[in-house]
């Protein structure tokens, strides 16, 4: 049997693992739930600490992955069954239909233009809408439309065929059915990533009550040149450019309140806040940015440099003290933040235009289902469990199934990518290289 590996999750970690394997001549099946690969990184504006444009550095990898002769990318797909054992897993994958025949589609966009349904665009964090038939974002890989069955009138029993009529090449195919694919793989790599904590349950910060309190993913879309505002940091309530901004760290992380948040440190929020603060200062040098923190976790290469740059060069104010409450002026929608500066003991009240809650990184909700399908254990927080990270690096509780990236705990992009390569190695040790051995 030609060995092949299943990679679940098409974010940066899944993509890297797939590329590593494929570049060693090993066949890869990359299964991704969304209609595109790229994961969360595709939604972000810049990386830390280098301030590289995320989509610019990710895109070549996405394209290389998608077009690699050894990698089969299954988008809109999920793993439903895993039987067998290491060396010989029998996997069932359900591929959901796009309802678009991509071989006929010319990406002219007529279907999207004519579609009468608008729904909030989840890629743009709800700040914009999209149609029921849509391409997720301009650099999406694959760059092809798909119909969101849940919002589509046709599938809602409405009989709408506007997109079919608009399509000049007959590429709309409502009759496409989900397809179950059976795969035989020797090992499996889980790279399903994380989800962002929803700070709504922390009522004192007013998320979803106050228009101008937002999460980091929402911020990333606002400052992205491909976002709803073309990169202008305008605040949700009135579209004014936000000039006074506050970041509140550890929202949802390091929480020992029963039933609220998680007790662990999410590791990357200090850095993404610094990165976002620097982004703001670069765009608007006259802005006032304050970061309310508990500890500054700057533990990787050049992390401390970025903090120093933000604080010492660009004038970002760091106040040690987690605010107790955010309040809103009902007329102006400005925000007031009450805080104690624990270094000086002073109580203060800061008025800002916009507040960003640095939200925790949580395991995905789907982990429960996926863990059951895979027959592996989750840890106490719901992340995939690695029994012995020292002796059995990146191994789950089932032989032959490995993890990398945030699916087993929060970590940054660099570490996720390192682990992806490591997992690719684990997935194939004990097995020989395939015959295609010429080349460097």
């Amino acid at each position: 049997m030609d060995e092949s590996v299943l990679v679940i999750g098409g974010g940066v970690a899944g993509i890297q693992a797939s590329l590593d394997l494929a570049n060693r001549g090993i066949k890869v099946h990359l299964v991704e739930k969304a209609p595109f690969i790229g994961g969360v990184m595709a939604q972000l504006d810049k990386t830390f600490p280098t301030m590289n444009c995320c989509i610019c550095i990710l895109e070549p990898k996405m394209i290389e992955c998608y077009r690699h002769p050894k990698i089969t990318v299954h988008t809109l797909s999920e793993v439903t069954e895993v039987g067998g054992s290491k060396g010989n897993f029998k996997v069932k994958v359900i591929e959901r239909p796009r309802f678009v025949d991509t071989s006929r589609c010319t990406r002219c966009g007529a279907c999207i233009e004519k579609c009468p349904v608008t729904v909030p665009d989840e890629f743009q964090a709800g700040f914009e809408s999209r149609k029921a038939i849509y391409i997720p974002f301009p650099q999406a890989v694959p760059y092809a439309p798909s119909i969101d069955k849940g919002s589509c009138l046709h599938f809602g029993g409405g009989g709408c065929i506007v997109c079919e009529e608009a399509c000049p090449t007959g590429a709309i195919k409502y009759e496409q059915d989900p397809r179950t694919v059976s795969l035989n793989v020797s090992s499996i790599i889980v790279a399903t990533g994380f989800e962002q904590y929803d700070p709504k349950e922390m009522g004192e910060y007013g998320y979803k009550r106050y228009d101008n309190v937002i999460t980091p993913l929402e911020f990333e879309r606002l400052v992205s040149p491909y976002g709803p505002t073309g990169g202008e940091l305008t605040r949700p309530s009135d579209g004014k450019i936000a000039k006074r901004i506050a970041f509140i760290q550890c929202v949802g992380s390091r929480s020992h309140r029963p039933g609220i948040g998680v007790p662990y440190c999410s590791g990357i929020c200090c850095m993404y806040a610094a990165k976002e603060a620097v982004t703001i200062k670069e765009k608007y040098p006259d802005s006032e940015v304050t970061i309310f923190y508990i500890d500054i976790k700057a533990f990787s290469r050049d992390f401390q440099n970025l903090i120093n740059k933000a604080r010492d060069e660009m004038g970002v104010e760091y106040i040690r003290g987690k605010p107790g409450e955010i309040r809103e002026n009902p007329l102006t929608k400005d925000l007031y933040i009450w805080y104690e500066d624990t270094d000086t003991g002073e109580i203060g009240r800061k008025e800002v235009d916009l507040a960003i809650l640095s939200a925790a990184l949580l395991p995905r909700n789907e982990n429960t289902r996926l863990a059951q399908v895979l027959g592996v254990d989750l840890d106490e927080f719901g992340f995939f469990k690695v029994e012995d990270p020292f002796l059995s690096s990146l191994e789950t509780t089932r032989d032959g199934i490995y993890v990398c990236g945030c699916c087993h705990g929060p970590r940054d992009i660099s570490n996720s990518v390192v682990e992806a390569s490591a997992a690719a190695m684990k997935a194939t040790t004990g097995t020989r290289l395939t015959a295609e051995g010429s080349g460097g």
Binding site: R327, E328, P330, L331
Partner: protein, 293 residues
């Protein structure tokens, strides 16, 4: 709906307007109020500060009386309400304390089981009666007036125990005001305390705390403040002139009402029936507006 009514000391001492208006509006909404024989102070805040077991005893005793009446307990005061709720919790987790209290209660022929439910007037009006029914009973809507709601700390901050409304975003009193046709608006100081718990330790602080809240209410353009707690009302209304002195601001005039008073007005009742002559804050212009319709 039938409740044992527990007015509480403050109401019986000088907040007659609250009791009068409550006794007028509640029965009209199908809520029967039964007086309690032999009830006493609930023990908050004096006993709770210095002699907790006496406090528990007093509160438990009142609850036992309600139990003997076979009714749930409806205190009019936020403080009394939280006192009962906390006492219930303490006696539940401390059976020995409960037993020692019952030993004493038995001498009066009373027993505290802990089965009694403690209702809050906001819950009764918002959850049990419902805003729709209240809206239907409105004959003289309070249109064109904007009120700042002050639910009061003891109603919303119950430290993990059952609270009457969301501690960060209480909306029940707002809903009830909308049912009367009034405008409401969230404001930053909505959940701020009235300060009255400090009245004995530092009276000036109480006045400053209440004064800052009133200043914000005025600045934001509200027509008045509405509350459901006699402690809070006492500070904001009865002591408004003292607040003005403490803040050094004689123009700090804010009309203050009990919700039941506004409800009564909206239902078409006469102001005299609602004890409005006892409100010391400058309510007359607002009262006129409401009466004119």
């Amino acid at each position: 709906m039938k409740y044992a009514l527990f007015p509480g000391c403050t109401v019986q001492a000088d907040q007659f307007g609250y009791e009068a208006s409550a006794r007028e509006v509640l029965p009209r909404l199908g809520v029967e109020l039964v007086d309690m024989e032999g009830s006493s102070c609930c023990g908050f805040p004096a006993f709770s500060s210095i002699y907790p077991s006496a406090w528990f005893y007093l509160s438990a005793r009142n609850m036992a009386i309600a139990e003997s009446m076979g009714l749930d307990l409806l205190p009019l005061c936020n403080g009394c309400h939280l006192s009962f709720v906390e006492t219930k919790h303490h006696l539940e987790v401390n059976p020995r304390l409960k037993e020692s209290i019952n030993e004493n209660l038995r001498r009066e022929g009373l027993t505290y089981t802990g089965d009694v439910k403690i209702a809050h007037i906001l819950e009764v009006l918002h959850d049990a009666v419902g805003v729709e029914k209240i809206g239907a009973s409105v004959k003289r809507p309070i249109g064109g007036l904007k009120f700042a709601t002050h639910p009061g700390c003891h109603a919303i901050r119950s430290g993990g125990l059952d609270h009457t409304d969301d501690p960060e975003n209480p909306q029940k009193l707002d809903d009830l005001m909308r049912a009367l046709g009034a405008d409401v608006m969230d404001y930053p100081e909505k959940t701020d305390c009235c300060g009255s718990s400090l009245a004995i330790a530092s009276g000036k602080t109480t006045l400053m705390i209440a004064g800052e809240k009133l200043q914000s209410v005025k600045k934001l353009g509200f027509d008045g403040l509405v509350t459901v707690c006699p402690f809070c009302f006492k500070v904001f209304d009865n002591r408004q002139r003292a607040i003005q002195a403490a803040m050094g601001d004689r123009s700090l005039n804010v009309p203050v009402f009990y919700y039941t008073q506004l409800l009564g007005l909206a239902m078409g009742l006469e102001p005299e029936k609602l004890g409005l002559e006892l409100n010391l804050s400058p309510i007359d212009p607002i009262l006129e507006k409401i009466l004119e319709g």
